[in-house]
């Protein structure tokens, strides 16, 4: 299907490398859908991209107010994209509150489209503005396009005979249509989506389609815009791509792990932002035999998964910080009874309820050490939305092979952010071997595999393997209750050695950039994008710097200490008060320095670059 709206135009069309666009408006204005649609369209066109959905914790704060502002930023490019963009080329603000909350992100002389119909006195008052920015010259430094979005949408839809409320809810698609004109994109992808989404409501198909086409035609007809932009496709590695968010990738990764392992997937979960989408997505995969159990609380979520793992399923649980705290005791049980379990902590700002919809990396030390007594747990962290798929597979494989609970530390930014993802072939996915013990001859529940130190997975229903496990200290080999001092020390050491042995699964780190030099950046998780961008930019300026991004936080890669020694300085950027840096200093006795941002927002590339330059110039290197 194609539209009739793509006839050649006389106006100037400029080819540019990249653009950052941000849609912002009220929580009820549909900004997340608008941003997602723009993302899908540029993705299908072949641009590299990164997104940053930024929405409030309140479902609907009072309309037009500052706390109700929701935004969605897309960075799309013909070259590699590492971040959603430090600043914005085009800002679409649906009301004064959105303008006020987002204007600082807009570049000087950037494109600013605002809904002129929403700048009345009441609207300004709700946004706590004392004068009208459209009239007081405060926007003189931008290319301002005040558009009567509400009136124009109503005019376009008046034939359809819909009520005003429904009509006004289509104005985001009018704005989207304008953006498609501005960046020379076809409406086809979104038209297909509209038809699918509202297939049972033909009136809404017509309304949204008409609004979007009207927005496009408006630009075409009014000559408000004298220029449009063309961003050619990026040169990604050959292959078949789709767009993917971190939470979606985790969900699919677990389905893949379950299929590869040949055992059912059991998710025990309790709704919590920003992890709930994993529960939503997995609950739709029942045709894969996936069992989703929405438990009565976070504790039942993890303990039901332990029960399912005991039964021989791939038991997983998904949560965020407050839920992680509640699961703590159960994780200790999983350590003691040595059953496979994967726990996903989609980190958000804390402490306590904190910033439910904002990102942070401050649960690292909790994941590593936040249990009573000696209870080591392997910890993995994905570095991008697409990497979440591979981390889910890797965590499941380790949990089963070593009979151990594993924690995955994702975060709000990875969870909701999206990127193009090269679709792997199922044949290329790693195997996840499972062995259930069946031999009753001389069976001992805590006799270990000499290479992995894993105990056997002996599931109920297996004749001759009846045995008892529990949280009380067990005798080595037999698993019987045992309180002897030397046995306890032996078991504590065995559990630690088993987790340490997982290092045989961890590839040696190979720094990006310079293999040795003035500065090494060590980081983990979602900071990968801005650091990669900064590294590239700074190396182009001749700096000798490297970057190690840790996917395995416990155990750490074997050669990490040696790599740290190859650089004069070590910088550890983290969205916390300095947790990995504390670990590196303690473990390797190196003079590593933290760079910490705790604002609920990811690092900007420019912030990392500035820090690199600050360190190197203090050393007299630049």
């Amino acid at each position: 299907m194609s539209t009739t709206l793509t006839q050649p135009r006389q106006r100037k069309r400029e080819v540019i490398e990249k653009a950052v666009i941000r849609f912002c408006g009220d929580s009820g204005d549909g900004m997340q859908i608008t941003g997602s649609q723009f993302t899908n369209t540029v993705a299908l066109y072949g641009n590299d991209l990164a997104t940053f959905p930024d929405y409030p914790a309140e479902i609907r704060a009072p309309a037009g107010t500052l706390p109700g502002v929701s935004g969605f930023q897309v960075h799309f490019s013909s070259s590699d994209v590492y971040t959603p963009g430090d600043s914005v080329d085009a800002l679409i603000a649906m009301n004064p509150a959105a303008l006020k909350m987002n204007l600082t992100e807009l570049k000087p002389n950037g494109i600013l489209i605002v809904n002129l119909d929403d700048f009345g006195e009441t609207d300004l008052r709700k946004a706590q503005m004392t004068s009208n920015p459209l009239e007081d010259h405060s926007l003189d430094g931008y290319r301002l396009f005040p558009v009567e979005l509400t009136k124009l949408t109503r005019a376009a839809l008046k034939e359809l005979g819909l009520d005003n409320k429904t009509v006004d809810r289509c104005k985001n698609f009018f704005a989207l249509g304008m953006c498609y004109w501005l960046y020379n994109r076809s409406l086809d992808t979104t038209l297909r989506w509209i038809e699918d989404k509202f297939k049972t409501k033909p009136a809404l198909v017509a309304a949204n389609r008409t609004a979007m086409q009207a927005g496009y035609s408006y630009c075409e007809a009014t000559e408000a815009f004298q220029i449009s932009y063309e961003i050619p496709p990026a040169k990604l590695a050959p292959g078949l791509y789709r767009n993917i968010s971190g939470n979606s990738a985790l969900a699919m990764g677990f389905v893949a792990a379950s299929q590869k392992a040949g055992i059912p997937l059991f998710l025990g979960s309790y709704p919590i932002t920003p992890a709930s989408d994993i529960l939503h997505e997995l609950s739709s995969y029942k045709n894969f035999g996936v069992i989703t159990f929405q438990a009565e609380d976070e504790i039942a979520a993890v303990t039901s998964a332990i029960g399912a793992a005991y039964a021989g399923a791939l038991g997983i649980t998904t949560t965020s910080g407050p839920g992680m705290s509640l699961k703590t005791e159960a994780l200790g049980l999983a350590v003691a009874v040595e059953l496979p379990l994967v726990v996903c902590d989609i980190q958000r700002g804390g402490p306590s309820t904190g910033l439910p919809t904002k990102t942070e990396q401050a649960d690292l030390l909790q994941a590593l050490f936040g249990r009573n007594s000696e209870a080591p747990i392997p910890v993995l962290a994905p570095s991008s939305p697409g990497d979440c798929f591979w981390i889910a597979l890797e965590a499941s494989r380790i949990a089963i092979k070593y009979m151990v609970p594993v924690i995955i530390l994702s975060d709000g930014y990875l969870a909701n952010g999206a990127e193009p993802w090269k679709i792997p072939s199922v044949a290329d996915l790693p195997e996840v071997p499972v062995h259930f013990e069946t031999n009753p001859v001389d069976f001992q529940p805590y006799r270990r595999n000499p290479k992995t130190l894993a105990r056997p997975w002996a599931i109920p229903g297996t004749p001759g393997l009846e045995h008892r496990i529990g949280g009380i200290e067990k005798q080595d080999v037999t698993g019987n209750v045992n309180y002897e001092p030397l046995n306890h020390e032996r078991m504590v050491r065995l559990r630690a050695e088993k987790v340490a042995a997982i290092v045989q699964e961890v590839p040696d780190v190979v720094p990006a950039g310079d293999p040795s030099g003035d500065l090494l950046i060590v980081a983990w998780g979602s900071t990968h994008g801005p650091i990669t961008g900064a590294l590239k930019a700074q190396r182009e300026k001749g700096r000798r710097i490297g970057h190690v991004h840790l996917r395995h936080l416990n155990p750490l890669p074997k050669n990490l200490g040696e790599v740290l020694g190859r650089y004069d300085r070590i910088l550890v950027p983290e969205m916390n008060m300095g947790q990995l840096v504390m670990l590196l200093r303690a473990k390797f006795l190196v003079d590593a320095h933290g760079y910490n941002k705790i604002q609920g927002k990811p690092f900007k590339q420019s912030e990392i670059e500035r820090k690199i330059e600050e360190i190197l110039s203090a050393d007299g290197r630049i």
Binding site: K286, A295, E296, A300, S304, G307, E466, R468
Partner: protein, 343 residues
């Protein structure tokens, strides 16, 4: 199972472990263990299909003494762990051993949600009205005013009535027995075993160290028949040494009556464990709280036609698989819009 019929029948001994039992001498738990070990071999279930799950407390050491699969978990969480197990393996016979602190205090939330879902678990609530393993604090079933280590001036807590709680959350099988009433206890366990959904069995159990004689009025030989009424489906509620007292329903009130003088068995309340109104079982559960009334034991409620949670979950999976076909991973990874980047 066909293999089970080829093997010699199981005996009580098959369910005993080689582990030294670490309950205090004289503890009521021994009697409960003995009853369970007697009943399990009768059920025609292969030993490897039994799983006993417990939380924390004296009673929760139970799995160590049962030669089945066993999991001694953490405080209060046994129902949640057992729920995960039962959903993943509906074919297993899963029993939960728990106490008044474990089930009704720290694990209260899991208990009520397990019962409302009707997960196919058999729950043995060892109710001794005290915290034993932590050496003598009051529990959520301790009587108000009770002096314990943590309440030297008496508790100010109103206690739970465990059966009323279970009935209140629509539990499908609710029963009560007493540790020393071995025959009655075994009969009750058999009934619980035969029930498909959640079976909640309160066992009045004596802690001879920290709360000795808590149930003395029910268990003393001479007093027993005056203070206990045994519920039997389809039979009138009669008690007393000479079986000369009965319970009559007048309006919405239960009333103790003396048989004779024109009052016959026909005037008495006839027990209906399948009574469709929750109010009926609720009234029985509250009976002993009224002065002069006996304590009811036996099956208060048995609703057999409520589907089991694990069956519903697994049926839904099968339905979706039949409708959509079994999941194809390759298709899942390629779902939605895709685009090709050429070399």
């Amino acid at each position: 199972m066909s293999t089970a019929t080829l093997l010699p029948p199981l005996t009580k001994k098959d369910f005993q472990t080689d582990q030294e039992i670490r309950w205090c001498p004289g503890c009521g738990d021994y009697a409960i263990l003995s009853a369970v070990q007697s009943v399990f071999p009768e059920l025609g279930i292969p030993r490897e299909n039994f799983v006993v799950i417990s939380g924390i407390g004296c009673s929760s050491r139970f799995p160590y003494y049962m030669n089945t699969f066993g999991f001694h978990t953490i405080h209060g969480r046994a129902p949640a762990i057992a729920t995960g197990l039962k959903i993943a393996r509906p074919d297993l016979e899963v029993w939960v051993a728990t106490g008044d602190g474990d089930s009704l205090s720290i694990g209260g939330n899991h208990t009520i949600h397990m019962l409302r879902r009707n997960v196919g678990l058999k729950v043995l609530l060892f109710n001794n009205r005290i915290y034993g393993l932590t050496k003598g604090q009051f529990s959520p079933t301790s009587e108000i005013g009770k002096k314990t280590k943590s309440t030297p001036f008496g508790t100010t807590d109103r206690p739970f009535n465990p059966l009323a709680l279970a009935i209140g959350v629509e539990a499908t099988f609710v029963a009560r027995s007493v540790d020393v009433f071995q025959q009655h206890l075994k009969d009750t366990l058999r009934r619980a075993a035969a029930h498909k959904g959640s079976a909640y069995v309160e066992i009045l159990q004596n802690c001879n160290i920290f709360n000795d004689r808590a149930w003395e009025t029910l268990t003393e030989k001479d007093a027993r028949s005056e203070h206990v009424v045994q519920l039997e489906h389809g039979k009138p509620l009669i008690f007393g040494k000479n079986r000369d007292k009965g319970i009559r329903l007048t309006g919405l009130e239960l009333e103790v009556v003396q048989l004779g003088n024109g009052i016959t068995e026909k005037d008495l309340l006839v027990h209906d464990e399948q009574h469709p109104r929750p109010a009926y079982a609720f009234m029985l559960a509250h009976m002993e709280q009224k002065p002069g009334f006996p304590t009811p034991i036996g099956v208060l409620r048995a609703w057999e036609n409520v589907p089991r949670y694990e069956d519903l979950i697994n049926a839904q999976i099968r339905e979706v698989q039949e409708k959509r076909g079994k999941g194809d991973l390759e298709k899942l990874l390629h779902a939605g819009d895709t685009w090709e980047v050429r070399a």
